[in-house]
Symmetry: C2
Subunit: 469 residues, 2 copies
Amino acid sequence: MKIPKIRAYVLDGLAHAFNPKSIAVVGASRSSTKVGWNIIKKLREDGYKGKIYPVNPRAHPYPIFGEKTYKTVRDIPEPVDLVVIAVPFFLVKSVMKDCVANGAKIAVVISSGFKEVGAKELEEEITNYCRNNGFPFIGPNLLGLGNTHSNLNLGFMPYLPKKGNVAIFSQSGANLLAWLGMSRTQRLGISLFTGLGNMADIGFPEFIIYAGKDKNTKVIALYIEGLQSKKEFIKACQEVVPKKPIIALAAGSESTKGKSAAAAHTGSTALTSEEYDKLFEEAGIIRVRTQQEFVDVALALSMQPLPKGGWVFITNGGGSGVLATDECARRGLDLLEIKGFLKQQMRAAVGPLGSPLNPVDLTGMATWRDYKMAMEAAITNPDVGGIVVSVCPTSITYPEKIAVIIYEIYKKYKDLGKPIIAQFQGGPECERANNWLKDRGIPSYLTPEQAVAGMAALSKYAEIKSKFS
Amino acid sequence: MKIPKIRAYVLDGLAHAFNPKSIAVVGASRSSTKVGWNIIKKLREDGYKGKIYPVNPRAHPYPIFGEKTYKTVRDIPEPVDLVVIAVPFFLVKSVMKDCVANGAKIAVVISSGFKEVGAKELEEEITNYCRNNGFPFIGPNLLGLGNTHSNLNLGFMPYLPKKGNVAIFSQSGANLLAWLGMSRTQRLGISLFTGLGNMADIGFPEFIIYAGKDKNTKVIALYIEGLQSKKEFIKACQEVVPKKPIIALAAGSESTKGKSAAAAHTGSTALTSEEYDKLFEEAGIIRVRTQQEFVDVALALSMQPLPKGGWVFITNGGGSGVLATDECARRGLDLLEIKGFLKQQMRAAVGPLGSPLNPVDLTGMATWRDYKMAMEAAITNPDVGGIVVSVCPTSITYPEKIAVIIYEIYKKYKDLGKPIIAQFQGGPECERANNWLKDRGIPSYLTPEQAVAGMAALSKYAEIKSKFS
């Protein structure tokens, strides 16, 4: 198959896919055991307000969920924005013909039974037909897609994720589900989300360009098992990264076994880890390595401005500072060297038993006043690019109180445009403090290593932005 | 200072420290703003049932918390099991003399102001005095210690951790607090826990030997910023690892900055990362790298038996399988090659769209019956050493139901002695499933990488055990 350049009609189709005024569900059913029934139920449950056209020759003329049914998409009296196809694979091509006849804007093919099980020819035949008729489609073989900003949850996702500004495009439905779920428990706000399925027609580049223009998206996050064209991928990324950061988890790259697993899963050919490193460097992508790091890094990029200098890590736990320093070393990130007036200020904040070096160790005796003094000194200092506030609950350090102080400092000095990251290590009281801050726009993590992952991503994107702008 | 070999009176002292029938609190106070008051309050609140002797010349003769007060430890009419010292540093030596006079078994010195601020001579003077009198002490400059099995929470820990079988000895109070807190939210059961402080008298080796003998401890977990003697450390570990696994997070080892941070924190000299690798290999220690991995690895070792062969990774998410395979590659762990009869069985379980390779991909269409079939086939197969069950919630895969199936299989085949690990990736429903299983003895993680960390640790300890036995 030819790898297309960015196509205007596809971008237009994606705009309709993520903000549809009308949706036709082909394979709609009155039986609650059927996929088609569940798709309509989910759409309505999660708040989709537009028009729904159930399509099923056997259900016609009985209404489904109170909506008039149609025999085919062709019979729908107006051009439909989005057609969802959930019928057996051998019917998909004829549905595509109906879509073209209707003047529909785009299709999402949920159906499986294509390249992933060896039926490459059928998939290519459908793709060629659609491309020749200028009709774009997402899939086949995918979990679904959605947009929190239009209350759109189309497919098999149990619920809408938390609303926010991170767009996720994933070649794995399972990992997409993981992140949608974690968006709730870990407070990562999501805008667009799509399982890409087999990427027969639309691949990463057009999703990236589209998300680059989407007004609700600030960060683009990719889960990749293989690319159709490195060249088109790099081009799309390079166009977008001056405006928005792109992060990627490239899987199946660590071994030949990983490659086989990816091949068995999506029929993709994974690159090696080194090849991805090179590719991502050229594309201006921030690479992440694990499912958790994907969330941690997206969180920082989605919430905070970029640092214009080195970081100061302020903690009441010497041990947290040591772990943070180790993680900085592993990521090649240097903490700011504290000297001059800032050092004097820090010495005052840490008291006789602490350390004014970076990490700044306020010691276990630190109160909220000490935190406040150290934070204000750091954030107002022109050499300081950003600050991390790490907290370990002691009998005199109350996480909830420190969280409030962090939020106050954040509001007071927001105009300085410096990033603030928090980290509360411990039990339920720390979870509460972390969530409270995340709900107010401050990334806040459980462990020092996660906080450093967030810092490193912000610093890395500052570099990428200046390189590609 | 001379580095002592293992001393019998120290082991006896530790037995009293972790199971004290009586505790003298030196620096006890009637003022709720004072450390000594809080120590007694915490002891009683968390359920310590033994005798408490408040000691404070100024409080005498007024009772504190209803207990008769004493001017000095010397005045207490019976030898005390454990003396807690929370007085200014310059008074510590005279308190030690009182302890010796009383015939006390061991002291815990909470007070700071010693080596960590440069007062090395005073610390050595006290240590020499105590050693010459055969009186052991823990600290100085430490957070506290405890034992969930005797409801002992002595020091600054806000609450007792979840009861269990992991002993934690930490050179960082902040990281100890993190793990005590995470023990609650992440269901890691803990037996003994101690902040080691400056380790003036008792260092890692004696704690390790003691925990090796403690009947409630199955796993020993260390946070290390520096060692007094590699030789004594290795010897102690080698003695214990044939019976119990030891894991260690060695911090400050990744850079010279990390070394400085560790030096500023505990006055320790950290080894380099490569030196630690070598040391741990020789000692039979499982190395972990992050605060979270410390918990993940301890969890698996604390709950499950060791594998006697390769692992089978069963999932309904192709993408989770790919991430797991990558993490296996990074950890040098091979999944079992599935062949012969097991392959036929897996083919039946996965259906036409899945993959019977390892990871076994049941696909998003998997029901609890498919999971059950695959799990039973795997666990009863003689080639299989252990299984991981990875679950991504879909519209037909309910985490709670699969969790019950996993628990049933676990109970049914417990006699086979094969480890089972679970992993539920997603939102609140997955958190519930993970916690439900952990409360029943099955390690269950949020992400595939964490599950692989657990697998790798069990496999590694199986290797270590056979090497050192």
